[in-house]
């Protein structure tokens, strides 16, 4: 009897011990295999970096690349003392913006939410990589779960989000030095309060003609989630401002403009189409874009930030926090780094004609 219970104890002891070893090994290898986004594509870090910012923001900017490449929170701080953060990712869908906003509102209550609405025209996610960049860095919560379920592609499985090793296991043969370096060490910040700094210049050229659509009505899901964003802001007494950034492509056609304008009018919210004010902003697409007019570079983003920040501050009474010692310490430190990197990139671009860390190079 005693022997039997000893055997059982040994059996379950081995089982528990092995399970612990296995789980530890999986945790280590998973950490190693998850992409670190420290190479040419740094956007995969943006969601996660938000949690590392301990300050509260009066302005929260959400949307896709048109939000994180066209507005500079550092400039908003420098010019007006506005505290802001961009929760934006590549090809971030409207439902994803909703869930990122909902999650952010558990942490803070901004005065204004500025939503870039270019993604309203996007019907579903085109590639898994974009979803991954939105969600991989997001902390687990109901928001993340619902966000994944609302926007995953057909090929994506929730299990692979729960256990990222199931998705990234095949990276074992392509591990690089950065995977080892950042597996268990905090990565340096890659964005400036969610802003993607680019100081290179590639002037605007002709875009390919877009295929005409039969129907320009926004996808039903996007309209539903835009409504939910508005409701969420209303419930939290936050002013929602809709914005179309001055990116020239994909073309923002009149039917899109009419639908958004009508939405804003019906709900009595502000909608700013910056494409209508490019001269007033002072944008010159020969020098203010780094990818031929798709997105603004830092020079363009700063111009837009100066123009828009003034308006937002006056209209919504955003506070000038430059006299707040604690905040000023945090923001000014980051501003210094921002100015330094801008200068570095500028110098490199003037010398090489490109910025090496954003350029894919043959081995």
């Amino acid at each position: 009897m005693r022997e039997q219970s000893e055997r059982r104890l040994r059996r379950y002891g081995v089982l528990a011990g092995m399970l612990a070893v296995f789980l530890c090994a999986m945790a280590v290898i998973q950490q190693l295999l998850i992409p670190k986004y420290m190479g040419t594509v740094i956007e995969g870090n943006f969601t996660e970096e938000y949690y590392r910012d301990s300050t509260k923001h009066e302005l929260l900017i959400i949307g896709n690349c048109e939000s994180y490449e066209n507005l500079s929170p550092m400039k908003l701080w420098e010019e007006y003392g506005i505290t802001s953060y961009i929760r934006g990712n590549s090809n971030q869908l409207i439902p994803q913006s909703y869930y990122l906003l909902r999650e952010a509102l558990r942490k803070e209550r901004p005065k204004v939410v500025l939503l870039n609405i270019q993604a309203m025209m996007v019907d579903g996610q085109s590639s898994e990589e974009y979803n991954r960049m939105v969600f991989d860095g997001m902390k687990w919560s109901g928001d993340k779960l619902e966000g994944i379920l609302s926007s995953r592609t057909k090929e994506e499985s929730l299990t692979e989000y729960l256990f990222p090793i199931l998705r990234y296991h095949s990276r074992w043969s392509e591990l690089s030095e950065e995977d080892f370096r950042y597996a268990f060490q905090e990565k340096p910040l890659t964005s400036y309060n969610g802003y993607y700094l680019r100081a290179d210049i590639r002037p605007y050229t002709e875009f390919p003609t877009e295929r005409r659509r039969i129907d320009y009505t926004f996808p039903e899901q996007n309209l539903r989630y835009l409504e939910r964003i508005w409701q969420l802001c209303r419930e939290n007494r936050i002013a929602l401002v809709l914005m179309k950034a001055p990116s020239l492509y994909p073309v923002w056609v009149p039917p899109y403009e009419e639908q958004i304008a009508e939405f804003a009018r019906e709900r009595n919210i502000d909608y700013i189409n910056t494409l209508l004010y490019t001269d007033e902003i002072g944008l010159d697409m020969n020098v203010d874009t780094y990818d031929e007019g798709l997105h603004l570079n830092v020079y363009g983003a700063e111009k837009l930030s100066v123009w828009l920040g003034k308006d937002l501050k006056e209209r919504y009474g955003l506070t000038d926090f430059r006299e707040d010692e604690a905040l000023a310490q945090v923001y000014n430190k980051r501003l210094e780094e921002y100015i330094w990197e801008k200068a570095e990139q500028k110098a490199e671009f003037e010398e090489l004609g490109y910025i090496s860390k954003y350029t894919f190079q043959e081995e």
């Binding site: 399970l19 499985s157 296991h169 043969s173």
Partner: protein, 524 residues
Amino acid sequence: MMSYTSYGFLLLTAAGLAVTGILRQSGKRWVLLAMSLVFMAAAGGYETVLFWFVSTAAGFAAALLLEENFSAGRIFRVRREEKRRTSGEGRMPGEDETPAGASAFAGRRKRGILLIVVAFQLALLAWFKYANLPGYTAEAFYELTGREYEWELIERVSLTGISFYTLMIIGYEIDVYRGETKAVRSFPKFSLFTGYFGHFLQGPIDTWEGAGDSLASPARVSFSDVQDGCLRILSGLFLKLVISERLAVMVDTVYGDYSSYGGGYLMLAAVAFSLQLYTDFCGCMDLVCGVSRLFGVRLAENFRQPFFSESVSEFWRRWHITLGAFLRKYVYIPLGGNRKGVLRKYGNTLAVFLLSGLWHGGKWTFIIGTGLLQGVYMIIGALLEPLAIAFFRFVRVKRTAPILRLLRRIRTFVLITVGFVLFRSDTLTMAGEILLGMLRQSRYPEYAEGVWHSGLGAADFAVLLIALTVLFLISLWREKRGEEKLLRGEAIRTIACFGMLFLILVFGCYGKGYDSSSFIYSRF
């Protein structure tokens, strides 16, 4: 679509185990039946469930008729009869007296019932699987005469598992007809036998005697069973995800562009496909046998180190064992086997392999590749056997010498691989071009990447080589030690389980970019 390597199946198994864990032993089969229905619907859709049900119901009713030999064919009398027997009620005077004329009549009736039910099952199979056979035959004929003809495909619903459960039902009917098996009186039990998720998709083609009882009353599961089951599952996943999927990259690269490759590259792809087919099919069998073990169910084994075979006939006794056993028992032996002269024996061999090839699908690449060609090999082997014996006697060399055994194994592998080239090819012309291409100078397309231009990167190739070496060593052990366990200690087996799981999770080819959910034999 659910498959054995999908997360859905993992969830289904986990849920099944959780429920059986809290249920009494007798409730297990109901859980298995429910799981099987869910799996069937998720893997094949409602059409699969519907036609499986029709086949099963027909098979169930026919077996009762065969056993009881009803004059009016009312199956409910069976139960009444049973009740009467158990309650001890007497028979009516002269009830069990059977006149000779009535007996002959009953025999004819039984044969008639058997023919009808077998024809019905085969007709369903033919309707869904062989609709394009005449067209493919015409295409093959035109190809051989150098002309072009393209058959307009007849689209039929693809019924998952039909090739497997049809044979199981037919085998069962014949066994009942012969009196070798008693007809099952419970429809749920019979449904579980034909639709059990473990053998529904890819076999094994179980018999009622072999798996029926085990399914009807699953055994209690010990800790050792759990370990065995887990090791078996992991072994299956290892074969499928670590080896087969990597070989698939090589095979698909070369076969997808076969005219640009020549010589050694085509040979390499042919060898890779033989190994891929084995690891894919055997991996699936390991997986389902392992899962079944967790539920206390024992399924028939389908493989026994086939690449260690020294002759083609031995190979087919070690490869897809349950199909071979079915054809031997229900086709070869009833046709006379080897008891009616040499010519008849050869004829029977060809008939069996024709059916084997046909079973794989209504395409001539199957019918010849895994069918007639194999029969021809065996006939030639049998014809040359006396010569071989005389030769070795003359040169005074023992046929069991290790080097000769190795050479025979290589010869068998080469012969089988030639058959598998046909099996993998879309058309006979393609197979011919590949086989002829092997004799030409080695070449590869300029754009081809990977080790030996096979599309497989160096790191993956290294993993493949290591995994194949491990597979070879384990097979060698099994070949020498039979069923003896490779890992004996309880602790070491637990450690092996976790170690294997870790390796599979990291080095397995699954998820994005791979098609690991589809098994080659699930198409049949």
